[in-house]
């Protein structure tokens, strides 16, 4: 077999037996942690690697398992696990996933029978491996020109895992972890609508307080549900969820914080809250800095450039449309600037801004807009309550309210 150094038959035999022993010991002593270590086949841990070598040398592990009652009762788990390990080592990921899927099904079966939740740790590993292996298998499938479908299968398998946990009882505490794996799967697949049923199950269950879930899972959960709210442009909710995630996230996990901020910043911008430049720098979120600057300056051109520059990234992360809507705030800022300048010139007539001035300002910004278009934008600004006042068509003048003509958003989204 490829690359594996030949190990003596006896040694191989011993190693396989050792693994089997550890497995049955972990089950009998209800040691979830050690059990989970035995299942994490993508971890490339030393133990598992040598086990694979042993399996390659000693081909008849099957017999070893069947030999003893102790092992053979878990044969349905162990045999596919061995196969998954071997295939994984050979980078035969599709086969590895298939074998692991079999093992998982058998494990879930066993897990159902265990009353206490001691094996949750192992189940977490299992859920994680299902997803990761499926992703890898899909990459392999796609590179072979086949339809990647394993992740889809992983989705339904994880749903099965979820259903074993979602009920009452001590196992429920593990449900959120599986939910998060499901989120990851669905987001990757682009089938986020499937998240809804899981969310409902988590959020409507009165028997279990959300706060009782592990922090790690809560943060992940809030992150994903926050992202869903961004899609829906439900900014207050998104703000709440993502802020929760941010505040509970381990401060040392910078990558995670960055991921949260990636969504939180556009949300905050949409409700009129600008981040410190320092924050953007700290978490390497420079794609937002020009946007923030454009908002501050009322520079439409800068905003459009920034959007164009990072269009791909914003489209992929799904914040493009959110950022695009910031345009109105930029217009507002611009108008405010004009208003301030006019006030400096002639405070009495400052509340009347002639349309031609705005058109001129647009020209400066190299925005090709004619009077009609600008008029339309002014109309929209007033309609959306970003500007207080009215537009006089006959005289082509924006008449601003004398009191607070440019109301701040203050955490409220632009009214639609």
């Amino acid at each position: 077999m490829a690359g594996a150094y030949m190990m003596s038959m006896g040694e191989a035999h011993r190693r396989i037996l050792e693994y089997l022993n550890r497995f049955s010991d972990a089950v009998s002593t209800q040691d979830g942690k050690s059990l989970s270590r035995l299942l994490s086949i993508s971890s490339d841990s030393h133990h598992l690697l040598s086990l694979v070598d042993a399996l390659n040398t000693f081909q008849d592990a099957n017999r070893l398992i069947r030999q003893s009652e102790e092992y053979s009762q878990y044969a349905d788990i162990l045999l596919p696990i061995f196969r998954a390990l071997q295939s994984y080592r050979l980078r035969n990921l599709v086969e590895s996933y298939q074998a692991f899927e079999k093992a998982s099904n058998a494990f879930i079966q066993e897990f159902r029978n265990w009353d206490s939740a001691w094996a949750l740790e192992a189940l977490y590993v299992l859920a994680y491996e299902i997803r990761v292996l499926a992703e890898k298998a899909d990459i392999e499938l796609a590179s072979n020109g086949k339809t990647p479908e394993k992740l889809k299968g992983a989705g339904s398998l994880l749903m099965k895992v979820f259903s074993t946990l979602a009920g009452k009882g001590p196992k429920r505490v593990g449900a959120l972890y599986v939910t998060c794996q499901l989120f990851k799967t669905y987001f990757k697949l682009g089938t986020v609508h499937l998240c809804r049923s899981v969310i409902r199950s988590i959020e409507t269950a009165r028997i279990f307080d959300f706060e009782e879930f592990p922090v790690r899972d809560k943060v992940t959960y809030m992150y994903y549900t926050g992202r869903l709210e961004v899609y829906n442009e439900n900014f207050p909710a998104a703000d709440h969820k993502l802020s929760y995630a941010l505040s509970h996230c381990d401060a040392r996990k910078e990558a995670n914080i960055r991921m949260i901020l990636k969504y939180l910043i556009p949300v905050k911008l949409s409700i009129g809250i600008l981040p410190h430049a320092q924050l953007l720098e700290n978490y390497n979120l420079n794609e937002y800095s020009n946007i923030v600057l454009a908002l501050k300056r009322g520079d439409l051109r800068l905003l459009r450039h920034a959007l164009q520059e990072h269009e791909d990234r914003f489209l992929r992360s799904g914040v493009y449309l959110v950022l695009e809507k910031l345009e109105l705030q930029v217009y507002q800022r611009l108008l405010k600037k004009i208003h301030i300048i006019q006030k400096q010139k002639d405070p009495n007539k400052a509340h009347q801004i002639k349309l031609e001035i705005i058109v001129k300002a647009m020209k400066w910004l190299e925005m090709d807009m004619d009077v009609d278009e600008v008029e339309c934008i002014m109309s929209i600004l007033i309609y959306k309550n970003l500007v207080k006042g009215y537009f006089a068509h006959k005289s082509k003048v924006v008449v601003l309210s004398k009191q607070d003509p440019f109301p701040k958003l203050n955490g409220k989204p632009v009214s639609s």
Binding site: D60, R63, K146, D372, E373, Y383, H393
Partner: protein, 1006 residues
């Protein structure tokens, strides 16, 4: 006699065991070990190995091999139990008896034939014992205890004519078969489950390997006796055959055998094929009597079939005798030469496939039997060489038999493939058995005709060819033609290279040529007046009325050849399929009553279908030709029908069908199946789907083959219709190739629609039928894209969004496959559709992110993106500007959003403008007047626009007033609260105005 036989067998066994051992020792090198065995056919073994190998999944030892097999079957819990049981019971025999097949196999190697007889049988009986229900055990035990008990049995079995031949040691074995058959009768069936049948089947199959050595040796010592016996059998069989003519289980192949076998030089082989068809019969017989006596009568409920049934089953004792004969014959078969072996093999397959059909659970057994038969072949192979000389006499005849037997193959294959992967290899190995090829010294013609050399595609071809024959004359004639074809192919060496699956069938020879063939080949044909072609027989027996109908139009049917063979082939196909489905579903847990009914079902519906389909196909043909006589093409077609028998027409037709095949060259191998699936009834289609599903499940279970290996394309159809116009009808059954148009006709149809002056409703209907024809034929090319594009554009033109969405989603996948078309235009449409109508941010984002840089440069796409930004920002000015400059049909898509946009705009304006807005301005900004302001005579249009705008504003609750100068103004403050979205005038209760036909027609005048 027996002594001589023993030694002989011993020697052969010795060699065999050496050669064969690797097979049992399937480590990773399993496949190669197959190659190594010289006596057996490399090809066949290869396939076997290949198919078997993955199942083993890298296990090393024999035991694991067994185990794996078991594992494969674990889905069938029953079988699992069975497998487990034999292990225990046979452990005394000292062999690794995990499964029946292996059990017999291994014993074989380890012991001399007689020892084997004891041990093997012991084990075998043990198996049997375990499988059967309690009542059976005592007698079984009796048999098991000694070798002697078998003898009495043989006498039991050899009643009547057989006594004479009882000298055969083969009789010794027959009891086994017999015994089980008797068992069926004894009424235990009330608690019989499939276990039991399995037992039976196991018996049956494992028997073969056991017999062969013995009988072979016997043969060498007493050839004359054998032949005479055959004659004897044959007679008996003929009687029986007459009685059981209705047995459809005798696949056409076997029935052909009787015809063609008889013509051959001696009557000896005649008995042979008979036995083949018989082989299946015993099962039926053994079952039927019970069912008739207990519950079946009620179920049969006075149908014609029922009557036949009863009549058929009354002579039960006689039948049983025949069964004896048959079983004996089985045993004797190996006596004959290699070709005999093949036929024997074939027969086995046959039998099993049929048994399979009858009994639900035979699935596991099938592999077993195949495996054992495999052994037989290879073991006997060495002998064959030495026996050549003696076998020579029969060779000229046997090939014919065997080739006919080959007819059963495709079906068998289907059965197997649907049931278990394991059986497949066995089948292949059988059909390709090579011993013949190892004896090239034979004269050319003979060896050519040896069935073992025929590729299985050829067998399929032969089957197809024979299946469409009506009556013996045609059958014989066809056989003659086929022989010529095959000879020719062999002569120019294309026998194995040619793709028989796609080879067009030769035109049906007419009576004259048949007669010629007659002289050439078959003298005794007349001596067998009673054996008829399967079609005739089944019809006359089962559905006399329909036979009349069919008989009424023989010329038409013959002429409409494609139709004909379309449904004929399908029938073979389906018979197997139906049972498979049931088989797999039932999963071995059926109790007898159910079985009975399903047995019945497996026969009768299949047959009915055959007839009904045949009729309907014929009827359809008639109808179409009558109703469309105005159409020139049809006229031509019917003219062609009239000319069907002229040789030129035949040639033309041949070339036409060839052209078809070329058109789909890339799917060559599928074509073979197309005609089969064509015209199948709904049930059949579902059946096939179901079996395909089961198929896939099985594959997954065994973990060897991926789902994508299934030939889903086998479910496609190849059309033959030449009509350009066709109404769309949603398919409720499998498509009939006679009504499906091939690609070139569809092209014409598309052109016709594009140039048609008729209204959208008509065009939509036509396009849908074109789409349907494309779909059922799996045509995915630029024509497909064109059709969908045409339809999508038409749909946009009339605002038929649902239809447009359908086309659009199809186009998306078609473009994704790299088929060229107006990709960018439709990308723009897609974008517009998402923006304007679905209003789903996620969809929008994904569509946008999928746009390539190239696409973004396209004007249409750019426009669509601009529209998107105008919509998301609510910039109505921009929107209506884009509306006026929209390329292609984008305007029409935007049309659908205009109303919403205008309303939002007016709402926005009335909120932000004070005190008034001139309506003229609104009209201009919101694109009323339908014309761009730059055109001449704009004044007039503008005025029209203003009026239209005023109308619209009023309709939406706006408050208008006139100022001093007479200009119409919108009072914004008042309007702000009074604006509303009126109910659309063309609203219909079901929500989709497009569904209102009257309105639809009104909007789309011709």
């Amino acid at each position: 006699m027996n002594q001589g036989g023993t030694t002989d067998t011993l020697t052969t066994l010795g060699t065999n065991s050496v050669e064969k051992y690797p097979v049992i020792d399937p480590s990773q090198a399993h496949a190669s070990s197959y190659y190594a065995s010289t006596s057996s056919a490399p090809i066949s073994w290869t396939t076997h190995g290949a198919n078997n190998y993955p199942r083993e999944n890298g296990t090393v030892s024999t035991s694991t091999y067994h185990h794996d097999q078991q594992a494969e079957l674990t889905s069938r819990s029953v079988q699992d139990g069975l497998n487990g049981a034999p292990v225990v019971s046979t452990s005394t025999s000292g062999a690794v008896n995990v499964q029946h097949d292996y059990n017999s196999y291994s014993t074989y190697q380890n012991t001399d034939p007689y020892g084997y007889g004891n041990t093997g049988y012991a084990s075998y009986y043990n198996n049997y014992q375990q499988q059967t229900s309690q009542p059976y055990q005592p007698p079984v035990g009796a048999y098991q205890n000694s070798g002697a008990p078998y003898q009495p049995l043989s006498s039991f079995q050899n009643t009547g004519s057989y006594a004479g031949s009882a000298s055969y040691s083969s009789t010794y074995y027959n009891p086994a078969d017999y015994q089980t058959a008797g068992g069926y009768q004894s009424g235990v069936y009330s608690n019989q489950t499939n276990y039991w049948q399995e037992g039976q089947y196991a018996t049956y199959s494992s028997q073969y390997p056991n017999y062969t050595p013995d009988s072979t040796t016997l043969y060498s010592s007493t050839p004359s006796a054998a032949s005479s016996q055959y004659a004897h059998h044959y007679k008996q069989w003929a009687d029986y055959y007459n009685q059981t003519q209705t047995e459809v289980s005798c696949a056409p192949g076997t029935e052909n055998v009787s015809v063609s076998g008889a013509p051959s030089l001696s009557s000896v082989p005649g008995g042979y094929p008979a036995a083949n068809s018989q082989a299946s019969a015993p099962y039926i017989t053994s079952w039927r009597p019970e069912s008739t006596s207990s519950e079946l009568p009620a179920a049969q409920s006075g149908t014609v079939n029922g009557g036949v049934h009863d009549g058929h089953w009354k002579p039960a004792p006689a039948v049983f005798q025949n069964q004896n004969l048959n079983s004996v014959q089985h045993v004797q078969m190996p006596l004959e030469t290699s070709s005999t072996y093949e036929s024997f093999q074939n027969q086995q397959n046959h039998t099993h496939s049929q048994g399979h059909n009858l009994l639900y659970t035979a699935t596991h057994q099938v592999p077993q039997s195949y495996q054992s038969s495999l052994q037989t072949v290879s073991q006997i192979a060495p002998q064959l060489d030495s026996r050549r000389a003696s076998g020579k006499l029969q060779i000229p005849t046997n090939p014919r038999i065997a080739s006919n037997l080959g007819l059963g193959f495709p079906k068998v294959e289907k059965d197997i493939s649907a049931s278990t992967a394991a059986s497949k290899p066995a089948y292949i190995s059988v059909s390709l058995t090579k011993p013949n090829e190892k004896v090239p010294s034979e004269d050319a013609a003979d060896s050519i005709l040896k069935p073992g050399m025929f590729p299985k595609s050829l067998c399929g071809y032969v089957e197809r060819a024979l299946a469409r024959c009506k009556g013996d004359a045609q059958m014989v004639a066809s056989q003659g033609v086929m022989k010529e074809i095959i000879m020719k192919a062999t002569a120019d060496g294309t026998l194995h290279t040619r793709d028989w699956d796609t080879e067009p069938l030769f035109p049906l020879p007419n009576a004259d040529s048949a007669n010629q063939e007659h002289i050439l080949f078959s003298t005794p044909i007349s001596s067998l007046p009673k054996s008829r072609s399967p079609s005739r027989r089944s019809k006359s027996r089962w559905e006399p009325i329909s036979e009349e109908k069919v008989a009424d139009k023989p010329p038409a049917a013959a002429a409409r050849e494609p139709v004909k063979y379309g449904f004929w082939n399908k029938q073979h196909y389906t018979v197997g399929k139906t049972e498979n489905k049931a088989d797999n579903w039932s999963n071995t847990k059926f109790s007898l009553p159910e079985q009975k009914s399903s047995n019945k079902n497996s026969f009768r519906p299949a047959k009915k279908q055959r007839l009904v389909d045949g009729l309907s196909a014929a009827d359809n043909g008639d109808e179409s030709s009558e109703s469309d006589k105005e159409q020139t093409l049809t006229a031509y077609y019917s003219a062609a029908v009239a000319l069907a028998d002229s040789p030129e027409e035949r040639k033309r037709r041949e070339s036409r069908s060839k052209r078809f095949e070329k058109g789909h060259g890339n799917r060559a191998e599928i074509n073979h199946f197309r005609p089969k699936s064509a015209g199948a009834g709904a049930g059949n289609l579902y059946t096939r789907r179901a079996s395909a599903l089961v198929h896939s499940r099985n594959f997954e279970d065994s973990g060897t083959k991926a789902v994508e290996d299934i030939d889903w394309d086998a479910l496609t159809v190849k059309g033959t219709s030449q009509e350009i116009e066709k109404r769309y009808l949603r398919l409720t059954s499998a498509p009939d190739p006679a009504t499906v148009r091939p690609e070139e006709v569809l092209e014409k149809a598309l052109l016709m629609v594009q140039n048609s002056e008729k209204n959208y409703l008509y065009k939509c209907d036509q396009l849908k039928s074109i789409r349907q024809d494309l779909t059922v034929q799996h045509i995915c090319n630029e024509l497909t894209v064109k059709v969908y594009e045409t339809h999508a554009r038409l749909a946009i033109e009339v605002g038929d969004l649902p239809e447009f969405n359908q086309c659009q989603s199809q186009l998306k996948t078609l473009y994704a496959e790299g088929i060229r078309g107006c990709h960018l235009e439709f990308a723009a449409y897609n974008l517009l559709c998402v923006i304007l109508h679905s209003n789903n941010n996620r969809d929008l984002l994904s569509v946008m992110s999928r746009l390539s840089a190239d696409a973004r440069k396209n004007d249409a796409v750019k426009h669509a993106l601009a529209v998107r930004s105008a919509v998301t920002s609510g910039n109505y000015v921009l929107f209506f500007r884009l509306y006026k400059t929209a390329p292609n049909l984008s305007t029409l898509l935007m049309d659908l959003y205009v109303e919403k946009m205008r309303y939002a705009a007016v709402k926005c304006m009335s909120r932000s403008y004070r005190p008034t807005i001139p309506v003229a301005y609104i009209s201009q900004v919101l694109g009323f007047g339908n014309a761009s302001p730059t055109t001449e005579a704009s004044d007039e249009k503008e005025r029209d626009g203003v009026e239209e705008c005023a109308e619209w504003l009023k309709a939406h609750g706006a408050c208008l007033s006139n100022d001093n100068a007479g200009e119409m103004l919108l009072d914004t403050k008042v309007s702000m609260s009074s604006l509303y979205m009126p109910e659309p005038e063309d609203a219909v209760s079901h929500g989709d105005a497009n569904l209102a036909v009257d309105d639809f027609l009104a909007r789309n005048p011709v």
